[in-house]
């Protein structure tokens, strides 16, 4: 979305690079506070970033 690397995004979210990778690959569902943080960082509503369909 912003051309950020996983490490750049992880640093901005204050999480590990593995956490960003696990969220991107669908292995980990972020907590609600982290999901809000991600949405705020990208300036988009949560439902535009996360898809709850299986």
């Amino acid at each position: 979305m912003h051309g950020w690397s996983q490490a750049e995004l992880a640093g901005r979210l204050d999480v590990s690079r593995q956490a960003v990778n696990a969220i991107e690959t669908g292995k980990h569902d972020p907590s609600l506070p982290l999901a809000f943080k991600i949405a705020r960082l990208f300036g988009k509503p949560i439902e535009e970033i996360f898809d709850d369909s299986e």
């Binding site: 640093g11 204050d14 999480v15």
Partner: protein, 141 residues
């Protein structure tokens, strides 16, 4: 504006990673000293695991262990993100299950005369092995 605000995400991540490794390094060194002291005590006594140690040595190691575990867990927990917390929780639950199920199974097999009597330090080490196996599994599956 703080120094943290002026850093790029990658710089912040590097700093966070360095902090985590520093904590782990200090804990590792303390663990090494405690482990070495315990091993030395057994070495002096010819590996008679049932024999007592001088109380001041045993209590000194116990204090170092409890202080390190308490402060170390708190520091590690502060640095963890919710993904790491999640895999740690799952791995800890797996290790607890291994101990809770493993001990009665071993005990009953011993009662049936099929194996040696349960050995407490083997159960402890088994718990640690299960914990690390769980961490590796949940991280790399």
């Amino acid at each position: 504006m703080t120094q943290n605000d002026m850093m790029t995400g990658e710089e912040r991540l590097k700093r966070k990673t360095r902090r985590k490794w520093a904590i782990m390094g200090v804990l590792f060194v303390i663990g090494l000293v405690v482990g070495f002291t315990a091993a030395r005590m057994e070495d002096i006594r010819g590996y008679d695991f049932a024999g007592p140690w001088p109380p001041e040595i045993a209590l000194g190691i116990l204090a170092a262990f409890l202080v390190t575990i308490s402060i170390g867990s708190w520091l590690q927990h502060r640095e963890m993100d919710d993904y790491e917390r999640d895999i740690n929780r799952k791995a800890a639950a797996f290790a607890a299950m291994v101990i809770l199920v493993g001990y009665p199974v071993w005990f009953l097999l011993w009662k049936a005369g099929m194996v040696i009597e349960p050995v407490h330090w083997m159960i402890f080490i088994g718990g640690y092995i299960a914990l690390y196996a769980g961490l590796l599994f949940y991280r790399y599956r």
